[in-house]
């Protein structure tokens, strides 16, 4: 079943997290009046992306970049037609028309350019169609792209508090690493100021304290931590307090109840 909504309400980075953690395969269509985009995922990783104004075939793109000539482009298309299973990217590699690493570099750059601009959209309808795959002639990368990498780059473009405050309501929250960030961290390249914050995360210091220790602004620290959070590297938690207080009042204890009482309620509801 399709997932629909608006990125004004459920941001692109949140959706990428869902795709990644849900190992989803399919296409995320984004639409607004003056533009549209289609992002194709396989098992949670991005394999191709196109924008309305730049939806060239992989051969057209490689021609434009000077990586193929007309004859090679035709050769790849004909070979792909004869080989029903492979996409054109795979055929280009099989025919050794472009080296795999070079092909990855060109197609990844094209894909990233298509995606990064989307993080700046304040709104736009989205629709995720499970199982939908790109055409065999689309610019499909040989190696799928981890979305954490995209999330971090997208978050670098955030310039307002609103979205950050949805996930980090206060600067007094403590940042801690998730239990096993190692694997997830592999796909991420951190900028120097992001490393400064990363190195200060200890499960004890608040965002405000990290800002103080790194001499960075609260906004920059929160934006960077928001990126780590969205990529699934860290959690932000409220600092434990000895005497919990809510809105100036002592928090009520959760009552300890007897198993026998709970069992009576269970039996009653089962019998309704």
């Amino acid at each position: 079943m399709a997932l629909v909504g608006n990125i004004r309400d459920f941001g692109l980075s949140d959706f990428l997290y869902l795709v990644d953690r849900g190992y989803k395969t399919g296409c995320l269509h984004l639409d607004r009046p003056d533009d549209s985009a289609s992002l194709y995922f396989e098992k949670g990783k991005l394999i191709s992306a196109t924008r309305r104004h730049d939806d060239a075939l992989v051969t057209e793109l490689l021609l434009r970049k000077g990586k193929l000539n007309e004859q090679q482009a035709q050769q790849a298309i004909m070979a792909q037609r004869n080989d029903g299973g492979a996409n054109v990217t795979q055929v280009i590699i099989q025919l050794d028309l472009v080296a795999r690493d070079e092909l990855q570099r060109v197609l990844q750059q094209h894909t990233e350019e298509a995606v990064y601009g989307l993080f700046a959209w304040p709104e736009g309808e989205f629709r995720f169609e499970p199982g939908q795959r790109p055409d065999a002639t689309a610019p499909i990368m040989p190696a799928p792209l981890a979305v954490e990498h995209l999330i971090m780059e997208g978050v670098r473009r955030i310039d307002e508090w609103g979205r950050i405050r949805d996930r980090i309501p206060s600067n007094d929250m403590v940042v801690k690493f998730v239990e096993q960030p190692g694997e997830k961290a592999k796909g991420i390249n951190l900028a120097p100021e992001e490393w400064r914050v990363f190195a200060r995360i200890n499960g004890k210091d608040t965002l405000a304290e990290i800002a103080q220790k790194t001499a960075m602004s609260d906004f920059d620290v929160c934006r960077i931590v928001y990126g780590f959070l969205t990529a699934g590297l860290v959690d932000v938690i409220r600092r434990p307090v000895a005497m919990p207080v809510m809105a100036g009042r002592a928090a009520a204890e959760v009552p300890r109840v007897k198993k026998s009482l709970v069992s009576r309620i269970i039996n009653r509801i089962r019998g309704m």
């Binding site: 608006n6 949805d166 809510m246 809105a247 009520a252 109840v257 269970i266 089962r270």
Partner: protein, 176 residues
Amino acid sequence: MQTVKMVISGAVNAGKTEFIKTISEIEVVSTERRATDDTKLIKKETTVAMDFGRIAIGDDLVLHLFGTPGQKRFDFMWEILSEGMLGLVILVDSTRPETFRETNRIIDFFISYRDTPYVVAANKQDKPNAWSPEELRLALRLPPQIKVLPCAANDRESVKNVLLGLLDVILQRSED
């Protein structure tokens, strides 16, 4: 007579009133009034104070169900309602991702300072384009130990299943 309390919370139009109506033995005491703010864009009448339902467990024990008002301006009621509660059901409208942020805010309010047993009910699973419970778990960033249960608040068996799911969590924490 001993009374125990469960709280049903969630964003505006998540289905709290319907949930309580479906399972309560008494006519739900609901203080619905014509909406006066932006909630009227979503539904003509919405809960502005609270819903109250009741299930008699026996001669000496009764379960009260309280629905919280959805609008932010009634946040102060949440604190009052949550005092002494046995557990909490967070209802989510699975068809409206625009309410997920508010749902997270509500969860954060109820659990940040106390270890409240709770489950998330993925309501409106019978509607087209409903996000599945597992998709909601990812969207709301819920940890694996929190139950996300499918729900149709107008269906008694479905509501029973959610309450039983919560009671199971409470049972595991209860004492002999």
